[in-house]
Every structure is written in C-alpha cells, then in structure tokens.
Symmetry: C2
Subunit: 195 residues, 2 copies
C-alpha cells in the first residue's frame, strides 16, 4: 500500500490533490490511500464536507512507508523520517526541492498555479474519467491556490482545468463558489482576531 | 536562447535526446539548441552520421546560460557552474538527483530505460509529428541505453516507443540495427585494448 500525501501544515491543494491522485492511482490498479500531515483548515473542511469526503488519515512518521508526495518536493515540508520512507512518485508545482531518491521514479513538476491542475492533466493523460466529486475537490484546490485566478502563479492551464472541472462538478458560477470557499479561511481569521 | 544538454561524458542518449528535445521545443515555439558537455563516443558519431546530424555545440561553463537538462538531474554530472545557470526544464529517467531550482519548472522523470523514451512520449503528448531522422536518433538512444532491450531497466514503454520509432525511421530490423550500433563501441574498445 502506498500513501499519497501533501506537505505539513496542509492547505486545500495538499489534501484535495492527495485524495484525487490516490483515486487515479486506484483506478490504474495501484493500492493507494490519501493521507495528511496535520489538521485540515476550515476551508479544506468545508470542501471535504461539500463533496462528501472523509478527512484523510493522519500520518506522523515516514519510516518504512511507501509514499507518493504531492504539492512539495522539499524534505523540510515532508513527513518526519522522510529519509526512511520509500518515495515512489512526486507530483508538484513548486520550485524543485531537495528530495533525492536511490532509484528512478515518476517525478512530474509543472510551473502552474496548483498541484490539482497537474492531477487533472494526469487523469486526462491516462484517459480516466474524473468522478463528479473528485472534480469538485480539484476545482476547490485550484481556486484556493490561485486565489480565484488572481495569484501571480496562475496560468492558462489552471483556468482551463478549473473550467472543465466546474462543468464536471456541476458548479455553474466558479467565481461565486471561489468567494464562498475563500471566505471560510477569512471568517476564522476574523473570529480568531476578535477573540 | 536555451541550450538542451545531457550529462558529462555524454552517451548516445544524452546527445540524441538533447537534439530531439531541442527540435520539439523549436516546434513548440521555443528558441532551443542542443549542446554537449564532452566528446561524442564512436557509437554516437555513427548515429549522428547515419541520420544526418552535426555534432552539437560544446559548452563548458553554465554561467549565465538558460539550460534544459536531459538524461541527468545531478549537479556533479552537469555543466561546470551549474549553480550560476538558469535551469528551465529537466527531462530524465534516472534516480532524482540533487539539483534544486529557485522557481517552479517543468521536471519530468520517468522510471524507464532511456530519456529518449520520455522525449518520444512528449512528442506524442504535444501531438507533434516526429521527423524521420529524429526518430532514428531516438531509436538509437533506446537501443544504446537498454542494450537492445536486455538491460534490467528496460520497460514496456521503451519497447513500444522503439517499435514506433523504427517504423517512422524506416528501420525494418531493430535487432540487426541494434547490434550494428552497439558494435561501434566494442570495436573501439577492442582496438584500444589491442593497441
Ligand atoms: Mn500547498
Ligand atoms: Mn499547491
Ligand atoms: Mn546517459
Ligand atoms: Mn539515459
């Protein structure tokens, strides 16, 4: 069994891309399971509930585990004892980090706004239909990472992927959904500030 | 302008994948040029002559250059002053090396027998027709790296790619061509040993 896991202090992309890529691997015949390295934030909790997913399993030690890393390629951001884990794949959209491997693996990093965009392209590459609820997760991750396409990291690929995912997920107004999504974090930040 | 360059002490894969990937980038609108980090071996020289290619430009210092790395992701194998180069892409089939970047880039490594197999898949992904002579180069690299499909690193993807490339290149008997190719290195080794 292989865990698909994002970075520490997980954001919506790290959680949703892990779930969506684990689902793709399963459809490709790999015994894969999403995991997380910490508490999910209120935005991510909203997304998981909306699309009907459980919070992924928490893992705290990489020793002896088979891992697919998403949304990071830096040791410091990864699970403790990453050097004692077997990294079998990396899917990312950040600068290339310091993780090395003793064997050849599949490593795909793209200069786009979100790992979910890369995961969407991989579903397309393998010709695997994206389930409606998975499309909702991936769309949420893109809207979160790109701040509804306003971040400097946003690319045409992110926008195109989001539009296709919204269609699959049955979300008619991307912007309204994006604003609703992003408000979940700011609500909490406001609450915390007021307390 | 960006140089596409393989590793030091270049083998047939490092030279041929650099030429073929530079050609793909040019067809995608990027001003790319193949380069090399050392003398080509007799096997590679045979391949370049057979398919009508010049020996790529020698580069000896990475400082200030824009580079696409093929067939390696390790600093020690790369051009001198790699830390002062701008690495814009990496295409490889080895274990993940120690190269990091300050910005997101396209990094594609696959656990297959040859970088040329990855380059072939990228032509297909971008829907770019592979020119006959480029197909000859890529086929040669696969036969070289996989020792005519006998190396432990050989995968189904390498064999499938080689078969398609042989068809495009008009090479009817892959095995005979592979033996001819591999004999170029052993001839020289024999000569050198006898001298
Ligand atoms: Mn993230
Ligand atoms: Mn991300
Ligand atoms: Mn090589
Ligand atoms: Mn190689």
């Amino acid at each position: 069994m292989v865990y698909v896991v994002g970075h520490k202090n997980p954001d919506t992309d790290s959680i949703c891309s892990a779930i969506a890529y684990a689902e793709l691997k399963k459809k490709l015949g790999v015994d894969a399971k999403p995991a997380r390295l910490g508490d999910v934030n209120p935005e991510t909790a909203f997304v998981l509930e909306k699309f009907g997913f459980e919070v992924p399993e928490l893992i705290e030690d990489g020793e002896g585990k088979k891992l697919i890393l998403v949304d990071h390629s830096d040791k410091a951001q990864s699970v403790d004892n990453i050097d004692k884990a077997e990294i079998v794949e990396i899917i990312d959209h950040h600068k290339i980090g310091d993780i090395t491997t003793p064997n050849p693996i599949f490593f795909l990093a793209m200069p786009v706004g979100c790992t979910a965009t890369v995961v969407k392209l991989l579903y397309d590459y393998y010709n695997v239909e994206i389930p409606k609820e998975i499309a909702g997760l991936l769309l949420s991750a893109i809207l979160s990472d790109t701040v509804i396409f306003k971040s400097a990291t946003t690319t045409d690929k992110d926008i195109k992927a989001a539009e296709e995912l919204a269609r699959i997920a049955g979300i008619a107004d991307i912007n309204t959904f994006g604003v609703q999504l992003k408000s979940k974090l700011s609500d909490v930040e406001k609450l915390t500030a007021e307390e």
